[in-house]
Amino acid sequence: MTTDKRAVITVKGLEKAFGANQVLRGMDIEIDKGEVIVVIGASGSGKSTFLRCLNCLEDPTGGNIYFDGVDIADVSVDINVHRQKMGMVFQQFNLFPHMTILRNMTIAPIKLLKMTKEDAEKKALGLLDRVGLKDRANDYPNQLSGGQKQRVAIVRALCMDPEVMLFDEPTSALDPEMVGEVLDVMKKLAAEGMTMVIVTHEMGFAREVADRVIFIDEGVIAEQGPPAEFFGNPKSPRLKDFLSKVL
């Protein structure tokens, strides 16, 4: 397997079907280290499925996904080890409601990375401080607003020191006034050089932060490019049509 040394994830011919419903029909993409990729597309186009295939939350039904040179689409690979290095942020936050914020963040590093409780908590508090939530460490998720929950979900994933962060519509479940605080955290993260794949409807954010925008239509990558060109000079009629509706 020869991959570009800089590529963190290389996707080849990715396919996913739910029964007879073929959602992804052969996708190829290379994601470089430090690259911020924003994935857009109409609902039902397969963009969330694509993201969820990247860490095998959905098992691909065809193709390969090379992460650090290992094909994680291969069922004989221990996916759990590789998932530790891929953080994921969900639309519905999915914080663990029976644990405090601090416990939410430290349980995975303690149990999986065998960090000591002290080290893990120190790290978690440092990350919480960076997103302005240090004083909420001992609260439970239900005491937080949506924006705060999502910021916690982001730093919970960061506690595992991931190489890649996957975002599945991270602002779609938020009240409008809370979208900004979450996007700000993501911008900071991008500026620090984190490799990110983001499914979103925030076109302004895509324009500002993305290194590359990809447009998924009917299960394939229909068009991709740097944001200025992507938004300024779309080529395919489907993308033109889509952009005219959302911009």
């Binding site: 039904t61 069922v75 080890v81 998932r83 969900f90 999915n94 149990k111 595992m160």
Partner: protein, 259 residues
Amino acid sequence: MSTLTFAKWIADAPGWVLGLSEGLQRFLFQLFQCFIYGDRWKMYLNGLKITFIVTLGALALGVVIGLILAIIRTSYDSYTVTKPPIILRILNPLVQIYLTVIRGTPMMVQLLIMGFVIMMPKTQAGGIACGIITLGINSGAYVAEIIRSGLQSIPKGQTEAGRSLGFNFFQTMWYIVIPQAIKNILPALGNEMITLLKDTSLVSVIALRDVTKQAQNIVSVTYNAFVPYITLALIYLALVLILTKLLRILEKRLKKSDH
């Protein structure tokens, strides 16, 4: 011990008893005969000990069996697209058979088969073990379905969040899903505990001297059924009320994180 008759008892009775009506005298005699004479109250206590041991043992066994069965069924069901691994494809039908057989036959029959066909205990300790195992296996079948519905009540996103952090299926269950499910299944599990406690009264058929058997023994020596059996009913009622209260307290505690 010689049989105590009403005539013998009234002859030795203290003076204040003689002033009462005949009906009350007879009732006091029955109470005396069933509790005080020959320290018979100790028989209830000894029986209660057996009842407690069997209940707690069967409860623990039932929860362990139920949890294992529920996890097998849940993980089997979690493979919607791909085929489950071979081990699950073998275990799942076995679990189905177990659930069908245990829920499809009476507890009494299961006790008779365990006691007189399979285990055939010779000692009281062996009898206790037999009682615990039979009731535990029985309870496990019901607990399994209770736990399974509890596991299914937790949103899929919780499992996905756990898996995305790198936890495997069992770690995700143990750290994330089960602690949340317990809260949801506690009322149903409490009902099952109460049923189990009352069902231990059946172990007398395998010659275990639980509180029911002791009451029966007292009836057979006193020829008086009223006092021992009403007492027996009150004992079970009191135990169930205590258990209900404890479960309430536990439920309240677990609600803390809800805010």
